[in-house]
Point group: C2
Chain length 394, copies 2
């Protein structure tokens, strides 16, 4: 089994800051994260609340967009929240959910103090990530209506009060279509109304992530939501591994794409810093990777499809939420081991400027790929392979 | 203008190794590069030759594939060569090309000593990257026949002698189709025959990279070449910014995809470490990013479309060639400032194992994207945008 970082490793940035002299740190940071993100001063009271409530609070500006003659700058403060579950998974469902609501309520208030305009939580944020158990009850009882469930009501009130767009990734119970369960993000306007919903397009069947047991591939396509604070979209968790998924949100005009996730170290950590950032680059938008944090333990033992003995713990969700910009710059990551709120002030004009600079939409040749994909899905498709006629092993 | 690293910065790894104590370095390396790549011992004579000829030589093993019952392991040594042009650009064309041939000849001999099976050079490796000038002559005189030009003849001989597949990215003169110029990679078998060619699919129109002046989008699709040492494909330079391009090589069964490039610091360095690695992850293959190195100066001044005064120098090609594995691990990068040969021993069985683990081909939903892309290219396409009905700025 390959080595992975443990839950003592707070963050890459913390280690580098400890050992590197200033000049070397500056160059290494430039090499690792590009030139775009610089520190953003946040209110002292917000920092104090974060400290008292033991969550990581970090703020950055990404304001490298040029001034334009015909458009004013469009500064938006993006927020990302990562959190551990506050109560044991054996606690009654409503109590668990209420405790999470309370925790997030406090973090949303700090986000408001930090003037955040649009914010997103982690995947299935109102519950433990219980899909590893493959048990249906009590876990599906965390599912709720996207439009008028308790979580949407709770957030709609805060969204209006704080003038903040809130993206709420939940487990959805869809009563109108046979009570099915979906993995869904609800987009709540800063005016308190639900703008719409968007569902997880790609579902994992990987180790503990037996999610196809619970819900199917989303049927909402690649919707983009136009708000007072820009055009936003949501690529939920495993969808980040599929570049064509990120691409379609870009084709539909997204300027900020959130990737609410839940993923653990041994499985995906070498991928985490790459995928959302690549999406930001390839699609000239801001991409926000948000990961759950902490270790969750379940009442009954389960196996992970890896030949190892049954166990009750899921492994360590490594947090490390970050924002990547269309020029390839990124912010440092939040803590790997603590709850956190990340605030990024971005000029959305950078999106179109990067399209103009790099021309990726202009040179994308979607006609070629529409045709190639259509051919590739045919049962009789033959891969376009040219064989060396002199090969030894024919 | 955003900050960028200069040509004094040898590599990220060199700085980290200078300041970090062993334990911290180990964790930081794991965080930055994943668990897969470990040092590979190379022959002392090869190291000595590299030293005498002033090029960086690095070797790694990526052997984390499991043993299988029904397939033997398939160890392949991949090579990547990056080099500066040895002669000034004012030297006669043939003399410049001959000098590059000689330089590469020496590096190929070292690659052979290191038991490399399949190797690739940087984009347009037989010439300076003169496309910034937008002058046609003498630069197009570097173009040659893919099948029987002097470079293909030169390499076919070495390929056979060394039992090495050689991927040769050149400027191609296509006499059979009206003398047009292409940006092409020639795939030369270890038996000395040309297996086929593959052309650059996406052409940049970015700053000094006015390449559409010289050649058009490639017409060879996404061919994969089956050789004694695995199934290989070539995604040339700017094609790395298009994930759908990487994807189609994967759909066609590639196990190793080379990305021969020529790109400079201020333009693309924050993107470099991300894109080929993301492709390796998303497509469960080995991806090899190869970049030119050094600064090239041209006889006549040219402008860069950035409002700055005319100049004769292109900026610094930052090398940093690396190999990324399908599990998301990567090797360190070669030097940012010197020629280099990178050797990576890989078990190609890891590709299918990662497909089985992650299931990205199984969950890719190409049918959805074939349809979405086909709709998106229609002139009357309307983006799928849901507008907040309560928006202030209607």
């Amino acid at each position: 089994m390959a080595a992975c970082l443990d839950d003592k490793f707070e963050s890459l940035e913390a280690v580098l800051a400890e050992y590197l002299p200033e000049d070397a740190l500056k160059k290494v940071s430039l090499s690792l994260r590009g030139p775009g993100a610089v520190d953003l001063e946040l209110p002292a009271s917000a920092k104090e609340t974060a400290k008292q409530n033991n969550f990581d609070l970090q703020g950055y500006q990404i304001k490298i967009a040029q001034k334009e003659q015909t458009r004013p700058e469009r500064l938006v403060r993006i927020g990302a929240i990562q959190n551990a579950i506050p109560k044991p998974t054996t606690t009654p469902v409503q109590e668990q959910r209420d405790a999470i609501h309370q925790r997030i309520d406090r973090m949303l208030a700090v986000a408001h103090e930090c003037q955040v305009n649009v914010i997103c939580m982690q995947e299935a944020w109102t519950m433990p990530f219980a899909f590893c158990t493959r048990e249906k009850y009590p876990w599906v009882e965390f599912a709720e209506s996207a439009y008028d469930g308790p979580t949407t009501k709770f957030l709609a009130e805060r969204a209006k009060k704080y003038n903040m767009v809130i993206v709420s990734p939940i487990l959805e119970r869809d009563e109108q279509h046979g009570d099915v369960i979906w993995n869904t993000a609800v987009i709540i306007s800063n005016h308190g109304n639900v703008i719409g919903i968007t569902r997880k397009n790609h579902i994992p069947r990987v180790g503990d992530f037996n999610e196809s047991t619970y819900y199917m591939e989303g049927n909402t396509g690649h919707k983009v939501f136009e708000t007072d604070f820009g055009r936003i979209a949501v690529n939920i968790c495993y969808g980040r591994h599929h570049p064509q998924n990120w691409l379609m949100y870009g084709v539909n005009g997204a300027e900020i794409v959130f990737n609410p996730s839940a993923t653990v170290g041994a499985l995906s950590e070498p991928l985490w810093s790459i995928e959302a950032r690549n999406a930001a680059i390839a699609n000239s938008y801001f991409a926000v990777g948000i990961n759950r944090v902490g270790t969750e333990t379940f009442p009954n033992e389960f196996t992970s499809g890896d030949g190892k003995p049954a166990h009750k713990s899921f492994g360590h969700f490594y947090g490390s939420s970050y924002i990547a910009a269309p020029d390839g710059s990124r912010t440092p990551g939040l803590s790997r081991i603590r709850d956190g709120l990340l605030v990024g002030e971005c000029d959305l004009n950078l999106c179109r400027q990067m399209k103009d600079k790099w021309g990726f939409r202009m040179t994308q040749r979607l006609d070629l790929y529409a045709d190639s994909f259509a051919r590739a899905i045919r049962p009789d498709y033959k891969m376009d392979i040219v064989k060396d006629p002199n090969m030894k092993q024919q």
